[in-house]
Symmetry: C2
Subunit: 368 residues, 2 copies
């Protein structure tokens, strides 16, 4: 059975959840997927770096509270993250980038990705920065070095939006996309419909852990803007910069606006939309829209996210699911690793299937 050695860059919620998945159900996953996963390096701004080329024992690390984790005293440990050295030099097959999103220039994550790809290592990431701001360049760099650059989790956490567009829409022309891609603002709009005012709704979202202390990125549409760039560039083949994407948040929507909409059967949603124009270019905008009840995004409530794909032969196909969450986002990384395996190391027929399907195929093969 094959094995992938991983270097985890950033050990916050998401990569920690991936480590939990590997530690707690690695054997079961290996049986299902046909490959094992081993973590050989972890770096983190606060905890430092930890390298063990024979595989890090994850359970003891996961037993320590996140804020108290320090690699400095451990064998192979260092107080310094040493990101460039770890990414370039430690023998890993896949670099898993999950540091913070920098919406201005994507750094230092962009450099992390570049170092890894240039060193001939596959990269998967949940970090919107590098994908939205340098996705095309990094994709070309990956192609030049014969490796993969995967980023399903950068849009709707584990809900498979990008991979759905690539894998099950063959023969269709996607003419446009519309998405509810920020659970915090969607939750807040739902509370406004209940008659609560904006500051109270934001406070409630913060209490539930949906909103950050500074809710600007969620409420003013900056987060959706980056996700829409990724979606439009990947699914519609656009090449959008931030300046190309009109952005308006939900902060100016009044309780009266919401009441008026509800009385007309409409629901306000913060919608990111991208449409192919007649000349082939793509128009993209983030703005609150009062959607009619029958619109496929109108019923998407609370923290749920969704993307509607408008197509030539099928009309609209909509995929909804979680848009955030530690485990959900870690699953996106796992799905990226599966995609890397399928592309580089597996025949089409051995592509991993959900467990029951695999059992059934085996059964059929044996019977056959």
């Amino acid at each position: 059975m094959g094995r992938y050695d991983l270097a985890l860059i950033g050990f916050g919620g998401v990569n920690r959840a991936l480590a939990e998945l590997i530690s707690q159900r690695g054997d079961r996953l290996a049986e299902e997927l046909g490959f094992a996963l081993r973590v050989v390096a972890i770096t983190d701004l606060r905890a430092g770096s930890l390298i063990e080329t024979d595989g890090i024992d994850l359970a003891p690390l996961l037993a320590v509270e996140p804020g108290e984790l320090s690699f400095a005293g451990l064998p192979g440990g260092d107080a310094d993250p040493r990101n460039e050295w770890v990414i370039r030099e430690v023998p890993a097959d896949i670099v898993v980038e999950a540091t913070f999103t920098n919406p201005t220039d994507g750094e230092p994550a962009c450099s992390h990705v570049r170092w890894a790809l240039t060193a001939g290592k596959h990269v998967c990431t949940t970090n919107k920065g590098p994908v939205a701001l340098a996705g095309r360049e990094l994709g070309q760099l990956a192609a030049e070095h014969g490796v993969s650059f995967e980023f399903e989790g950068a849009v709707l956490s584990g809900t498979p939006i990008l991979r759905t567009a690539r894998r099950v829409f063959g023969g269709l022309e996607i003419t446009g996309v519309q998405g509810i891609m920020n659970g915090t603002s969607n939750y807040i709009l739902g509370r406004l419909e209940e008659g609560i005012d904006l500051p109270t709704a934001i406070a409630a979202a913060q209490e539930l852990g949906y909103a950050e202390a500074d809710p600007t990125a969620d409420v003013e549409g900056h987060d959706v803007q980056l996700k829409l760039m990724i979606l439009a560039n990947h699914v519609l083949g656009a090449d959008l910069c931030r300046e190309d994407v009109f952005r308006e948040g939900i902060s100016h929507i009044t309780p009266q606006d919401v009441r008026d909409a509800v009385s007309k059967g409409l629901r306000w949603k913060l919608v990111g939309s991208a449409t192919r124009r007649a000349d082939g270019t793509v128009e993209a905008r983030v703005a609150p829209v009062a959607l009619p009840g029958h619109h496929p995004l109108a019923g998407v409530s609370g923290p749920v996210n969704a993307v509607a794909f408008h197509t030539d032969l099928l009309g609209t196909v909509t995929v909804s699911g979680p848009g955030a969450g530690r485990i959900e986002t870690a699953y996106a990384l796992l799905s990226d690793i599966i995609a890397i395996h399928q592309r580089h190391h597996a025949d089409d027929d051995t592509a991993p299937l959900p467990r029951v399907l695999q059992a059934r195929v085996l059964q059929e093969t044996h019977r056959g």
Copy 2:
């Protein structure tokens, strides 16, 4: 460039729409998909059979009104459909089965599929009968003969439900599924919410072409029962017969029931659901359910269909889209053909991508 020769069994709405796609945009599709499609045989209960191993010229056939089409006078034509002979003997790569659904024993479609698979031909079908009633046997027969048996269109027409479960959920455990899988009954329930009584709502559905002259299969849940069997058997690895699936239609729901539900924020939907029990077996039932507003299926209105997948790591992921339509269902057949190509004749890297993506990858490769 490769080419697939098709034998179309049944020339009603769906296979006719597939012939239109091939006739009208075959060149564009070939460029995108990397293979050409050619129809070498058509059989139909009323029109007879038509065989032209160098490829049938489709445009003249499509210019004739469906009811007036007769192959008897044409070169290679015959008044007799001669299904068994055509399926077994005409040199086709793929047999496309789109005759009527027989919900009792699946015939004659089951025999059509068996003849084709035994002759070493791939089969794709939109016919619920063979898939729901003999899916496992036919899947094994296909495996024995080294060919594919594909049936995406048997559940939600072109909306990619089965392929989503197989291709983008690797590493997940699907614990259950719930679906709105009949647009007619969903439309009727919507009209009941508007205060219209059942007979009037059924008449409206018939006028719009949603409901048949005899609406029993749609209204009493027989159609959903077959689709749920396909979904549960395929996605949860169950082995359900019709007797295993409890079925209750919507005909006993009163306007008062609907008003009561609406007043509590609930919406009646005809839901097909399958859940894995603790012992590994699968419980499946079709019944009207009053769903709370935040349920992912509650907002699915009119003729739209949807399936919610409940999973271990991602919670619920829902896919919605058309559940019927000539072109939409013909697209399901095209997506089946693409799947056959990917499995048997393509490297992973040459898997067809939506057009813009392909253009972009080519561009990236050239730049690289």
